[in-house]
Symmetry: C2
Subunit: 262 residues, 2 copies
DNA sequence: TACTAGGTTTCATTATTTGAAACCACGTTT
DNA sequence: AAACGTGGTTTCAAATAATGAAACCTAGTA
């Protein structure tokens, strides 16, 4: 999944972190060794370093490694400064309240969609259960909305990384089909998820664009075919765009509170 | 704050990440250069690498760097597998509901306390606002509860890293005083925060220990002198210990769902 | 035009990383 | 008890990547 191969030591170290993350549970050295392209000694020292640095934690009881809490601390900062979530929060609240539907805020992480916040009127906000989750870009509303507004150069870089797994019978399964839809989305300024990722789940999504047209993220309102339909969701577009515009506007200033550092 | 100095390249790279994080806002190359011990060229390439790897994001509009979203993704995994939060969640809910007070779940990150979850009956759970925050160990209930149960070797390593800043008139300001209290806490199995960090804020905290006595984290119930007092909080100790024991017990198995990897 | 500040690249030197293999510790088998 | 095997740790010369001083851009200013 990760197209590293970049020679650098830090690249490898981060790659190891990713691999540990993929296990989703504490992992033994030998397991990781089997899953890594690195020779024993190299991997060993890499993990030593990462452990010493607090990015990994070694559990002596279980003889296994997990991601370290230092990551949580870093991510806290990342989330605050580099994600749209803190700004978007009140807007999401309002939108979710008004529509009564689930609202997703996402950004691009490499070739995938990373959900940075979520409002679900039914259940209360679950920490990290939404923030931090990743999903495919080619078959989600937010994903396509972002892809559609990417410069061709970037798009052609991440297009080959799309897996085009056929989740449902509506999933777009090749680049041509996707590109056709992206053009459409670009023209309209919004796009749909037509049960492409999960059956009965539909959504309408709008990109969040900077003044200069750079893709900052995307916002979607999700529902089910049991409750509503695409036409009804389309009615919400003006309201959603009102939100995305507001968020984009705030982002413009936001970036420099310029309070004295420290 | 960071006692790196470890020659490795990854150490330096992570150090750079920390420094970026400390700014709490997008930061220009020159700013970071001024704050770093590394020469121009070195820092430059370090940041190039980190940016290429998605750990930093460069905003071309603002000519500045922020922490990348890849961190959020990694932290999501870290939080799930390496923190007590997912397990403790229901227990925290129950404890908070019963006591009607704020409940904190913390773990040690290097020499600091890292809050991994929190329940505040008043306000709803705020994403990341609690998870990811760090605080001093020597003057918080959870901090001292954890320090008290650390093996001497580890303790003597992190003791010199305590800042002993006198937040309030009750703050312990030297190692001797702290060690005396740690002994007491170890004897009782619980400890207090006697307005040591913030005036009027008091809490009672219990460590979460593994079967073998390893420190996994700590749990505290916090209140104010306006509402209650230490004696009343002490009454809650059995209830809190019931919770910590339950969490510790669950942790024992938890670590290996042993579902087929991938 | 000259000057400056911020950022990028070069290149010979340095020192870290590499990885094959040896080694160690332990629990298992014969 | 000796031999074996697996999982983990260390060694050491060779290969490679990181270093940092300085040169070099680029764009905005005097």
């Amino acid at each position: 999944m990760n197209v590293d191969a970049s020679g650098g030591t830090v690249g490898k170290a981060l790659d190891v972190l990713d691999r540990v993350a993929e296990f989703n549970r504490p992992v033994r050295f030998a397991e990781l060794l089997a899953a890594s392209p690195y020779p024993k000694g190299t991997l060993y020292r890499l993990m030593q370093t990462l452990t010493r640095e607090g990015m990994l934690v070694f559990d002596p009881d279980r003889q296994s490694y997990s991601l370290g809490v230092r990551l949580v601390r870093l991510a806290h900062a990342a989330w605050r400064t580099s994600s749209l979530a803190p700004i978007a929060r009140p807007h999401l609240d309002a939108l979710a309240a008004e529509t009564g539907e689930t609202v997703h805020l996402a950004q691009l992480d490499q070739a995938q969609v990373l959900y940075v916040d979520k409002r679900n009127t039914a259940e209360p906000v679950e920490m990290y259960s939404s923030a931090g989750k990743v999903g495919p870009a080619y078959c989600t509303g937010v994903g396509k909305a972002m892809l559609a507004h990417l410069p061709e150069e970037t798009l052609s870089q991440i297009m080959p990384l799309q897996l085009f797994h056929k989740f449902t019978e509506h999933t777009l399964t090749d680049e041509a089909a996707l590109r056709a839809q992206l053009a459409e989305i670009r023209a309209h300024g919004y796009g749909f998820d037509r049960e492409e990722h999960e059956p009965t789940i539909i959504c309408v999504a709008c990109p969040i664009l900077s003044e200069r047209g750079r893709v900052l993220g995307a916002l979607s309102v999700t529902s089910t075919t049991a409750r509503t339909n695409l036409a009804a969701l389309e009615q919400l577009v003006p309201r959603i765009q009102q939100t995305t515009t507001a968020i984009a506007a705030e982002v413009q200033d936001w970036r420099f509170p310029d309070t004295v550092a420290q």
